[in-house]
């Protein structure tokens, strides 16, 4: 099972955190500090896996962003590496060639996407298309709601003129 997902920038800034196992706020800060210390300093040729407190942390660097996932000892690291890549591909498709800025300013969107990919620490859906469709459905609902809201406010505005 995946215990948490972290996105850290090369400068050690946190871009996204998702915790599937209970960690207190204090522990979270500590985990992030510890892991960014370990991962950011690793050379490019080394394994993408790190031993950490009896867990495994699988990380992968995309441009200036590190995607990290913490898993159990008996999980398949290579698979998790691909789950990360899967996530990135979905982000890419959604944002249209994603960049770190997209994730900084729209981190809540990234959370919504992550929620469709992983649930309760397990891979929930491995089809990009299905995920894209669900997110699109949510977004379109949001859009219509916005339109309605604005038309109502227009009506009100006109009525109160």
């Amino acid at each position: 099972m995946i215990h948490f997902v972290l996105l850290i920038s090369r400068q050690g800034k946190v871009r996204l955190t998702k915790w599937y196992s209970p960690y207190s706020q204090k522990e979270r800060t500590k985990v992030i500090r510890e892991l960014s210390g370990v991962i950011l300093t690793r050379g490019p040729k080394l394994c993408n896996f790190v031993d950490w407190r009896g867990f495994k942390v699988v990380y992968k660097r995309y441009a200036s962003l590190y995607f990290c996932m913490c898993i159990d000892q008996d999980d398949n690291e290579l698979e998790v590496l691909e789950i990360i890549h899967h996530f990135v591909e979905i982000l890419d498709r959604y944002f249209g060639s994603v960049c770190e800025l997209d994730l900084i300013f729209n981190f809540h969107k990234a959370y919504y996407i992550l929620d469709e990919l992983l649930l309760a620490g397990e891979l929930q859906e491995s089809s990009k298309k299905t995920i894209a469709r669900l997110i699109a459905a949510q977004d379109s609902l949001v859009e219509t709601a916005k339109e309605q809201a604005s038309s109502i406010s227009n009506i009100i505005a006109q009525a109160t003129k």
């Binding site: 398949n76 809540h108 709601a145």
Partner: protein, 959 residues
């Protein structure tokens, strides 16, 4: 870029993010965030902020919390937001609460009602959002509130909802298996869901259930095999392809499940051979995901009943991994090797040099993995080389967690395979000296026990040699400064027991050393206590031998100090020492017999020696003792008293352990047995004794008066004290005891080595040069052809000792050539370097906002096929969606019971004779199926996968 989702954010928020990005130090960032928190606090409590504004505030709260600051003041607003009617507001609320709250948070109770309502919503998106929250927030107590609703959703027409409902049930199962145990059949049912996503999600809970209880799921073997076969034949919709592999994530999950089901089951395994062999052949070992599947195949092959052909394929795959340049693949290869050598030990030999390269690698992760492999292949011929290497590595690292692990592994291997006592003692000394404070105290107790009991062979001289060499090395080590406390305890204990045993050292020499220890580590009370007790033993041996005892002056000074010590324990020991010295030889001999640490101590649990006293009291009119279980209506009181006397026994830890069980168990089990079952498993001696002491109380005291109880308890406590090694001077217990290791069993326990005594002179090579490397290889692997007892079986020797080093059975590794390559030409400049400019890679980037674009580039190149698929998908998406829902609706109506029965009793012929069964299905199901079937046939001819879900996919299972 960024515009797509950027519609709600105000300039204020953008500015905040920007300024944090530009912050040059953590302090500056903190200052900005604290300012933001103040602003939010002020605004958020404003009663009439528009919803849209509120939504943004909540997202800002999430941001603040993500940066590690406390945003708890706003949690309640996030909770309120989940109540909102509009989905977009609600969604933000749910997102925030799932990020903010852990499952034990008080506010959760306020959300349960909303969740209940939302689960019933007719908008499936609302339901999905609520289910996401359910997975994170619902705890054991609140499961019943939503459980029926979630179960209902398993039959929801939308597959996204069914999938999430499955995951939610799985989560419930993890949190409280009993709450959903009656619903487990639902997982089986959902396995034949016609949506591959739902089926894939179902594999998660099934995997967990099968891990726990393999046998109840043996009937599913054929179903899993058939699903896996269909997946590998590309019969899933193309959307599930990933880098040209058909649904690899589902394949991996299935292989994991098959590995469990086939373990030790020849019949089940035979059904799997074909499909696993197919995967071996079909896997594309040039892609990362292909290797992930290959690795899972190896794991599966090494777990199921062995098949020579598959083992060969696995060995081939492993050697490809090990020969790869990628560290990830090497890591994976080492892990896989560790799994396979259990079955075919000879395969290690051909990879000796690769393994040694990994051992020498600067990459810590790889190195550790290799140590894990070595640990698995240790035997008495190579134990010296391996343990030496491990200790060297242990000394070189700072990671305490791993240091602890590797230290306990060293100890375990040394105990099991030590070629000589000398070596064993030296190894233990090294481990303790460098990781003494990290190793479990059990390890120390184990070492003491081992020295006391010897290696268990009848050979007494070997045991005494072991002891003398221990004493000698300890005396030597005592000269070093700053030894870990645990190690000192062992040293004191051994010196006390055996310091003078072989007559080489005089009592005054040993006592002098012990006094030095007590003085040098004067702030460590445990060590001092061990030292005093050791002193007492030395003197007792002297007295018993009829020699005259002269206390050294420094020893006397020490005793003076301890007699007035603040620690009652130390005081007690000092007084006991004083008392022992005053006794004559006979008395000393019976209270402290020499070398009796392994003798059993008989404890009269019923305290029959008090019978007379009880009789007297009853005759004098005292009330007879009523066992707690028979006292009606006094539960609370007895409970209270129970706690009370645990407090009296001065052990805070015990107090907690008692509280709960007492109330429930009381009625069934008499307190005496309760107490002892509870406590005895704890290996440390002090607990064992305490358990005796607590059991005494209820059964012995004849009157119910609690003062009486307490009085007696005090007496007992004084006699036996709480510390491990205080000897009992009590007269009440008939068997007098000497420092006992607490573990009373005398037999067993021993490791298997004293017989193998090959001296291996190949110990200290460094593997810089090739010949040396080869030598090392020879010393590591050379013995493997000799018919030695395999390490795997060696580990299984049941040891009575409680020291169990978990053999975490390794895991896996991974790597990808493709992504590695990618990384090299990727690395576009870092856009977000708000701070100082960092070293940029040379890749020219026209549009800086496209910095992550490189990510997908490989996909385009390598997987043009897939990209192609995606573009067409985008173009025709309405079409495909339509198709999807159509087929879906067609099948959904199918009778559930039908599915179930089919699943539990899958016709074996179906999976191979799929066509015939499909034809049957077709005739009964009309044109829809026929179309699909034709398409399927066409597809198989052309070797392409259909892009719409294939309705026949899981039909094969049940015809």
């Amino acid at each position: 870029m960024g515009s797509q989702g950027g519609f709600y954010q105000s300039k204020e928020f953008l500015d905040l993010v920007k300024s944090i990005g530009e912050a040059r130090s953590k302090a500056e960032e903190d200052r900005i965030v604290l300012g933001e928190i103040e602003t939010l606090k002020r605004r958020i409590s404003d009663p009439d902020i528009p919803k849209r504004k509120m939504k943004e505030y909540i997202i800002r709260l999430v941001y603040v919390e993500m940066l590690g600051h406390d945003a708890s003041f706003g949690y309640i607003h996030a909770v309120k937001m989940t109540h909102d009617d509009s989905l977009l507001v609600k969604r933000t609320g749910y997102l925030a609460v799932t990020l903010f709250l852990n499952e034990d948070h008080d506010l959760i109770i306020l959300i349960v009602n909303t969740i209940q309502k939302d689960l019933k919503s007719d908008n499936y998106l609302v339901v999905c959002t609520a289910l996401n929250a359910v997975c994170k927030l619902i705890n054991e107590e609140t499961i019943p509130a939503v459980l029926p609703l979630v179960v209902e959703l398993l039959a929801h027409p939308k597959e996204a909802v069914r999938k999430k409902a499955i995951m939610a049930l799985h989560r419930f199962y993890q949190k409280s298996p009993s709450s959903v145990s009656h619903l487990v059949s639902n997982f089986r049912k959902r396995l034949c869901d016609n949506d591959p996503g739902v089926m894939g999600a179902t594999l998660c809970p099934l995997f967990e259930l099968i891990t726990i209880d393999v046998n109840s799921y043996k009937d599913l073997v054929m179903s899993f095999v058939s699903i896996l076969k269909q997946v590998t034949e590309r019969r899933l919709p193309k959307a599930y392809d990933y880098h040209q592999m058909p649904a690899p994530f589902i394949q991996i999950k299935l292989l994991k499940i098959l590995a469990l089901l086939g373990s030790g089951d020849k019949q089940a395994s035979e059904n799997m051979y074909t499909v696993v062999g197919d995967i071996f052949r079909k896997c594309d070992s040039s892609s990362n995901i292909g290797n992930a599947v290959l690795y899972e195949c190896i794991c599966c092959v090494s777990s199921i009943y062995p098949n020579p052909k598959l083992l060969e394929s696995a060995a081939d795959a492993i050697s490809r991994f090990l020969k790869s340049d990628s560290h990830n693949l090497k890591y994976m290869g080492i892990d896989a090797l560790g799994r396979l050598i259990k079955i075919s030990p000879e395969i290690a030999e051909q990879h000796q040099l690769a393994v040694i390269d990994c051992l020498e690698d600067p990459d810590d992760t790889l190195k550790r993995k290799t140590f894990e492999l070595l640990y698995k292949m240790t035997k008495s011929t190579n134990v010296e080389v391996i343990v030496d290497r491990m200790i060297d590595y242990m000394i070189s690292i700072n990671d305490n967690h791993y240091k602890t692990e590797i230290a306990s592994r060293c100890v375990e291997l040394a105990e099991q395979f030590a070629p000589s006592n000398q070596w064993f003692i030296q190894t233990m000394n090294k481990v303790f000296a460098h990781a003494g404070d990290l190793v479990n105290t059990k390890v120390a107790h184990n070492l003491m026990r081992l020295i006391a009991e010897g290696f268990g062979e009848e050979d007494d001289t070997a045991d005494s040699q072991l002891r003398s060499s221990a004493v000698e090395s300890y005396l030597h080590i005592l000269g070093e400064p700053k030894l870990p406390s645990v190690f000192l305890q062992v040293i004191c204990w051994v010196l006390g027991e055996y310091g003078t045993a072989d007559g080489r050292y005089s009592a005054s020499y040993i006592t002098g050393k012990l006094c030095d220890v007590a003085e040098a580590y004067s702030d460590d009370e445990t060590v001092k206590a061990y030292a005093v007790t050791a002193l007492m033993k030395i003197y007792a041996i002297e007295i018993a031998a009829g020699r005259k005892v002269d206390m050294l002056p420094e020893c006397q000074a020490l005793m003076e100090e301890f007699l007035a010590s603040h620690s009652t324990d130390l005081q007690q020991r000092a007084y006991e020492l004083q008392a022992v010295i005053g006794l004559d030889a006979h008395a000393v001999e019976s209270i402290m017999p020499s070398d009796a640490s392994c003798e059993d101590i008989e404890v009269d649990k019923a305290l029959s020696f008090l019978n007379g006293y009880i009789q007297d009291s009853i005759e004098k009119g005292a009330q007879p003792y009523i066992p707690e279980s028979e006292r009606s209506g006094m539960l609370n009181i007895s409970n209270f008293r129970n706690q009370d006397h645990h407090e009296a026994s001065s052990h805070g830890l015990r107090f907690e352990a008692y509280e709960l069980p007492n109330q429930t168990v009381q009625s069934r089990i008499p307190p005496a047995s309760l107490a002892s079952t509870e406590l005895v498993p704890v290996p440390e001696p002090m607990y064992v004794r305490e358990s005796y002491q607590t059991t005494i109380v209820p059964s012995a005291s004849s009157d119910a008066g609690s003062t009486e109880l307490k009085l007696r308890l005090d007496g007992v406590q004084k006699k036996w004290g709480r510390q491990t090694h205080s000897s009992a001077t009590s007269t009440s217990s008939s068997t007098s005891q000497k420092t006992v290791n607490g573990i009373t069993q005398v037999d067993g326990s021993n490791t298997s080595n004293s017989r193998t005594r090959e001296t291996y002179d190949s110990r200290k090579q460094h593997v810089e040069v090739t010949p040396e490397k080869q030598k090392l290889a020879a010393s590591l692997f050379g013995g493997s052809s000799k018919s030695e007892k395999k390490p795997a079986t060696g580990h299984k020797i049941p040891k009575p000792s409680s020291h169990v080093v978990e053999k975490s059975h390794a895991r896996k590794s991974s790597m990808e050539i493709a992504s590695e390559k990618k990384a090299s030409f990727q690395q576009p400049p870092d856009l977000l370097d708000f701070g100082e400019p960092t070293v940029k890679s040379a890749a020219p980037s026209v549009d800086p906002f496209k910095e992550l674009e490189g990510l997908l580039e490989p996909t385009t190149q390598v997987a043009s096929d897939e990209n192609h698929g995606s573009t067409t998908a985008a173009a025709k998406s309405p079409d495909i969606m339509g198709l999807y829902t159509e087929t879906h609706a067609g099948i959904y109506d199918k009778d559930d019971s039908d599915i179930l029965s089919g699943l539990s009793n899958p016709p074996v012929t179906n999976m191979f004779g799929g066509t015939t069964s499909m034809q049957v299905a077709q005739s009964s199901k009309g044109p829809n199926l026929k179309d699909a079937l034709e398409k399927d046939a066409l597809v198989r001819q052309m070797g392409v996968t259909p892009s719409s879900p294939n309705p026949n996919l899981f039909k094969d299972l049940f015809g």
